[in-house]
Amino acid sequence: MLRIPCPWCGDRDEVEFAYGGEADLAYPGDPAALTDEEWAAYLFFRDNPKGLLRERWVHAHGCRRWFELERDTVTHAIHVRGR
């Protein structure tokens, strides 16, 4: 089980969190201007790197805040970005 550093509550067990997938996928400013392919890329296409991945988590059974961190998908080493 991962130990995840919540920027608000500190280190907690993974069971307290819910996963939010890849980070840094901003909602498009004008979805109507996108082609179907571009919209599908925003909705469904995700990187699946072997190594560092920036991802979103929410402290669902704690402060209920969303935050981002960087996780190595091979070693599970976690680095927190600022809140």
Binding site: R3, G20, L34, D36, R56
Partner: protein, 749 residues
């Protein structure tokens, strides 16, 4: 101390294992192998035991080497397969612990590491172990797995699950002796030399040794690399893992040189590589002959290493033998993957106390005691326990539901709808927030009014529906589907925090703060009028309006919303006064209490969808015939872009319709597939809801059918999972009061 094995009684000693006692009594056989039924005996002294499997009471597949004797113990030998016995499971529990240093293995190097460690130190040992100053020593405790390098699961005496978070993990797990390969290496009396010593050199036993294999399981599970050690003829830990350290014989140090390895002479079908799985050298040779080259394939083909012992005495021999057969170096073959749990663990241990009533919280409404006292039959909706129907003497569900439906349509009925999810949305940007999260627009919603709303996921599929009540200039209360309340709040929070942090809006769950009763039916006003001074006539209290006042002396918020098509009032009061309100309503006139089943029928007659029943994550509001709930004027809302895709406006999408079985007494099975002709196989949709209607005096169903709205009048067939296709006519989804004439009360005759 007395114990029974295979029907015979023996004397046992305190602290002895079942295996040790059997060997001491000269029982060197007593077991059979799983596939061939060959006689077998105790082979080892620890968790690696491949032969001596027993059933003790209801518990199958225990290793006699790990079963501690107690007076009156009854053990039956098992031939490699357990048997399920219906018996009360023992009570188990789990413990959480944190420490600076966790040592796995209580041998000399493990004890030395524990003694030298600072801070909180825990030592796990699978056998008996003496105490150690300043160390929490858990003996008769086996580590099941090492996860992410700092999280260890262990099971103590087969009953208590330990979850241990450690800053540093020291693996002093030692080594397992492996059998040499020779014909008849499985005969009763043949045992590992280490076991022979542990059991005090029992008469008649033959000690054998094929060398030692380090217990690298936890190291490998945590991501540690392995390398082949030529001297001991087995894989050893290699490289480093942050926070994990191996000490003692698990590193290979101190282990004797392996005897030279060669494929044995003689009948290879008598040479056992995996004793528990009954796999021989001949089987392995066949697999190699079939062209298999990788260890993982050889494992799957032969089943070596797939027994409940996970090949603890077999896997390294399999690597060495396969290397010989393939003419390669064993180091080139690698190993199969080590996976937790290290030893089998009972489900009762994993479940711990979280079973029976403690498995999941049961949520009940403030009115629950009344429902119980009045004989309600309950159903679980998410965690909620809701009345399904209230049978009167001798009624079955069908009769009760028809009666409850008729009361709501013809007179007055009341339902406890307190389980509705309720989310308080407030702040200067609450309106903007709602406009973005719901598909329809709220700009024109005045204070004191409410509006039905739908939310979609970003892919345009229906997520939930409910009513949005504007209770103040900057304050709204949104209701959600009972089972979806937590998910909807999470969904709203996610958008608020991650995409729209600029919005000044706050979300609060108020589901349990309110108790709500629905008063439904053409005589709803007559029931309520004596209990309240709120004017109830349609002129002063129109549909979708909200009024504040008192009902039965309790401060209340009353809303005119309807989930049945009938005149209806929802009465919201402080949750603590819910029972008081309900008792007042139940005794005010002759209102019929009704449950979720009648509610389902009433709403289905009006084609009001239930999220999760009519929808399944592939259904848009358009598919449900609810174009009107999609705003055309808002610049954006969650799901809008997806609803503009050509795919969501295809004419042949599955659309919500009603089905009237040709035989008006035939009840379609929910989930039945729709086909065009009885012998057709291509599915055109499925039945989502199916009921008997008191109002129609017949059965009807809702279904999602390809291009359904252009096929009214067509007869299709509903095919249940088993049984004959049932013909039914496609009709418009709303089968009762299409004009909506009953919304304000009994239509003028």
């Amino acid at each position: 101390m007395r114990f029974t094995f295979a029907g015979a009684e023996y004397e046992g000693r305190e602290g002895e294992t079942l295996a040790a006692a059997l060997v001491r009594h000269g029982i060197l056989g007593g077991f059979r192998s799983v596939e061939r039924g060959r006689p077998r005996g105790v082979y080892s002294a620890h968790e690696e035991e491949p032969n001596a499997l027993v059933q003790v009471g209801a518990e199958p597949m225990l290793r006699a080497t790990l079963v501690e004797l107690r007076d009156g113990l009854v053990a039956e030998p098992l031939a490699g397969k357990g048997r399920l016995v219906a018996a009360p499971a023992p009570r188990c529990e789990s413990m959480h612990a944190h420490c600076e240093v966790l040592v796995v293995g209580g041998g000399a190097s493990g004890r030395a590491a524990a003694a030298a460690a600072r801070g909180r130190v825990i030592l796990l040992e699978q056998g008996r172990c003496a105490p150690l100053d300043g160390v929490l020593v858990l003996d008769r405790t086996v580590a099941l797995g090492l996860y992410e390098r700092d999280w260890v699961l262990a099971v103590e005496r087969g009953r208590r699950l330990w979850k241990i978070r450690a800053r540093r993990v020291v693996l002093a797990t030692g080594a397992i002796e492996r059998p040499p390969l020779f014909p008849g290496n499985d005969a009763p009396g043949v045992m590992l030399a280490s076991a022979y010593e542990a059991y005090g050199r029992p008469a008649g036993a033959t000690p054998v040794s094929g060398g030692f294999s380090p217990r690298v399981h936890l190291w490998s599970q945590a991501g540690g690399r392995l390398r082949w050690d030529e001297r001991i003829g087995a894989p050893v830990p290699d490289g480093e893992l942050p926070g994990v350290e191996c000490v003692g014989r698990v590193t290979g140090a101190g282990l004797p040189d392996a005897p030279p390895f060669a494929l044995p002479e003689g009948d290879e079908d008598e040479v056992f590589v995996d004793l528990e799985r009954d796999v021989t050298l001949a089987d392995l040779r066949r697999a190699v002959g079939a062209g298999l080259r990788s260890l993982e394939h050889l494992k799957r083909y032969t089943t070596i290493g797939t027994g409940s012992d996970q090949g603890k005495t077999a896997n390294v021999n399999a690597i060495r033998a396969a290397a010989e057969l393939l003419g390669v170096h064993p180091g080139e073959l690698g190993t199969t993957t080590f996976r937790p749990p290290y030893v089998p663990v009972s489900f009762v241990v994993v479940a711990g106390r979280e079973r029976g009533p403690l498995f999941d919280p049961v949520r009940t409404t403030p009115m629950h005691p009344w429902h119980v006292a009045h004989g309600a039959v309950f159903e679980d909706v998410g965690q909620w326990r809701r009345p399904r129907f209230y049978p009167r003497d001798g009624e079955d569900m069908e009769a009760a539901v028809l009666r409850e439906c008729a009361a709501a349509r013809e007179h007055v009925a009341i339902q406890d709808v307190s389980t509705l999810g309720k989310i308080d949305v407030q702040g200067p940007d609450a309106l903007e927030f709602l406009n973005r999260i719901y598909t329809n627009a709220y700009d024109s919603l005045e204070v004191g009014r409410c509006r039905y709303g739908v939310m979609c996921t970003a892919d345009g599929m229906m997520l939930d529906d409910g009513v949005v009540m504007r209770v103040g200039e900057r304050r709204y209360v949104c209701t959600t589907t009972t089972g979806n309340a937590a998910r909807v709040l999470d969904w709203m929070e996610e958008w608020r925090q991650t995409e729209w942090p600029e919005l000044r809006v706050w979300l609060t769950s108020v589901t349990e703060q309110w108790a709500v009763a629905a008063v439904v039916g053409p005589d709803a006003r007559e029931l309520l009028a004596p209990l309240t001074r709120v004017p109830l006539d349609a002129g002063s209290f129109p549909f979708m309006a909200i009024r504040e006042g008192e009902v039965a002396g309790i401060p209340a918020r009353v809303c005119r919303v309807s989930f049945s098509g009938e005149l209806a009032f929802e009465v919201w009061v402080d949750g603590r006064r819910g029972l008081e309100l309900w008792e007042a309503l139940a005794s005010a006139g002759d209102a019929t209490p009704y449950g979720t089943e009648a509610m389902h029928v009433l709403r289905a007659e009006k084609a009001y969808p239930i999220v999760g029943q009519e929808t399944d994550g592939t259904v848009t509001p358009h598919d449900l015939g609810m174009e009107w709930v999609i705003s055309k004027t808002k610049r954006d809302f969650v799901g809008k872009r997806s609803l503009a895709r050509p795919d969501t406006s295809r004419a042949d999408r599955k659309q919500l319709v009603a089905l009237l079985p040709v035989n008006p007494d035939a009840l379609l099975r929910e989930g039945s597939q729709i086909v065009a002709a009885p012998n057709e196989r291509a599915s055109q949709g499925h039945v989502t809801s199916s009921y008997r209607s008191a109002a129609l005096g017949r059965t009807f169903a809702l279904a999602l059918v390809a291009a359904g709205r252009s096929r009214y009048g067509e007869v299709v067939y509903a095919v249940p999972p088993r049984g004959e296709p049932v013909p039914a006519e496609i009709v418009e989804a709303v089968v009762y009061d299409k004009e909506g004439s009953r919304r304000d009360g009994r239509p003028a005759a």
